[in-house]
């Protein structure tokens, strides 16, 4: 696709919208797994921004893509540990609602 008629602020606005949607889910969801899903939306919005700014402003160096690679890896690790924590909480407290989980020792 020819990018010459597609301005950079299209991508910036799109990731702003996605970030706001993810932020809404992050605050309003009760289920801890749904909160983690909202974090995935926020991280994907940030990744899109990284790639768009790299593509338009610094296409000669590949720093933006390297950043996204590291972010995707960290997100995968975060999901694995996050889901293990959620399952552990579910086993001890029999709920995964973040507003009912109020104690730190099981």
């Amino acid at each position: 696709m020819n990018l010459n008629h597609l301005p950079l602020h299209f991508f910036v606005l799109l990731s702003t919208v996605l970030f706001a949607i993810g932020l809404y889910g992050l605050i309003s969801r009760r289920n801890a797994i749904a909160v983690l899903m909202s974090i995935e939306i926020v991280m994907n919005a940030a990744n899109l921004n990284f790639v768009a700014f790299w593509r338009y402003l610094h296409p000669q160096s590949l720093e933006g893509v390297v950043f996204v690679l590291v972010t995707i890896t960290v997100a995968a690790a975060e999901v694995a540990v996050g889901m293990a924590v959620v399952l552990s909480i579910y086993r001890t407290l029999h709920t995964v609602n973040v507003d009912e989980v109020a104690q730190m020792r099981g």
């Binding site: 696709m1 020819n2 597609l6 950079l8 602020h9 991508f11 910036v12 606005l13 799109l14 702003t16 919208v17 996605l18 970030f19 706001a20 949607i21 993810g22 932020l23 809404y24 889910g25 605050i27 309003s28 969801r29 009760r30 289920n31 797994i33 749904a34 983690l36 899903m37 995935e40 939306i41 994907n44 990744n47 899109l48 790639v51 768009a52 593509r55 338009y56 296409p59 000669q60 590949l62 893509v65 390297v66 996204v68 690679l69 995707i72 960290v74 997100a75 995968a76 690790a77 999901v79 694995a80 540990v81 889901m83 293990a84 959620v86 399952l87 552990s88 579910y90 995964v96 507003d99």
Partner: protein
């Protein structure tokens, strides 16, 4: 931009934004988990538009593959995720709408005030060489973050196994012997 390209762009944007909305809005959490799939694919489509095919492949493998599976497994192992009678939002949802809407308004106003700095033409990239150069960069300038990533993944894997094991079952097995 031709009509076909414009239609494709509008379709991709609509799919991405709508599925993100569905992920945060639907009550059935299994459905919310499945709505993540078109969202990840849409983001991958934007990576294709920005001519980084390698990131598109990674997005498919890691997000649409691995993360989706882990999320759906975790959802199926907990209860009350498919009952549409149960409210899935907490008391703060009005505040959440206000917070995210005001943040979005602030950012959009900021973007429009700096539209001049943002209206730059896209740089020329050789999309065939990106993946090759990425590999060279990861093993030269960025070899330390690259290796640290492997340490992070290993410790995350060990931590996940440690957290997810069931101590009660292990105790029963030991006492049964």
């Amino acid at each position: 931009m031709s009509v076909l390209e414009l239609a494709l762009l509008i379709f991709l944007t609509a799919v991405t934004v709508f599925s993100a909305l569905m992920v945060v809005a639907v009550r059935n959490l299994i459905h919310a988990g499945f709505w993540l799939l078109p969202f990840f694919l849409g983001i991958g489509g934007f990576y294709l538009i920005l001519s980084v095919e390698f990131l598109f492949a990674l997005q498919l493998l890691l997000y649409a593959g691995a993360v989706m599976v882990v999320v759906l497994f975790a959802l199926m192992l907990t209860r009350d995720v498919m009952n549409p009678q149960i409210r899935q939002t907490n008391r703060l949802y009005v505040a959440a709408i206000a917070a995210s809407a005001s943040m979005m308004t602030l950012l959009v106003v900021l973007i429009y005030r700096h539209l001049g700095a943002l209206s730059v033409p896209p740089g020329l990239v050789d999309s065939d060489a990106i993946t090759r150069r990425l590999g060279t960069m990861l093993l030269n300038e960025y070899v330390l973050p690259f290796e640290l990533t492997s340490a992070l993944l290993l410790s995350a894997m060990l931590g996940a196994i440690f957290l997810a094991r069931n101590p009660r079952i292990e105790m029963e097995e030991e006492s049964g012997e």
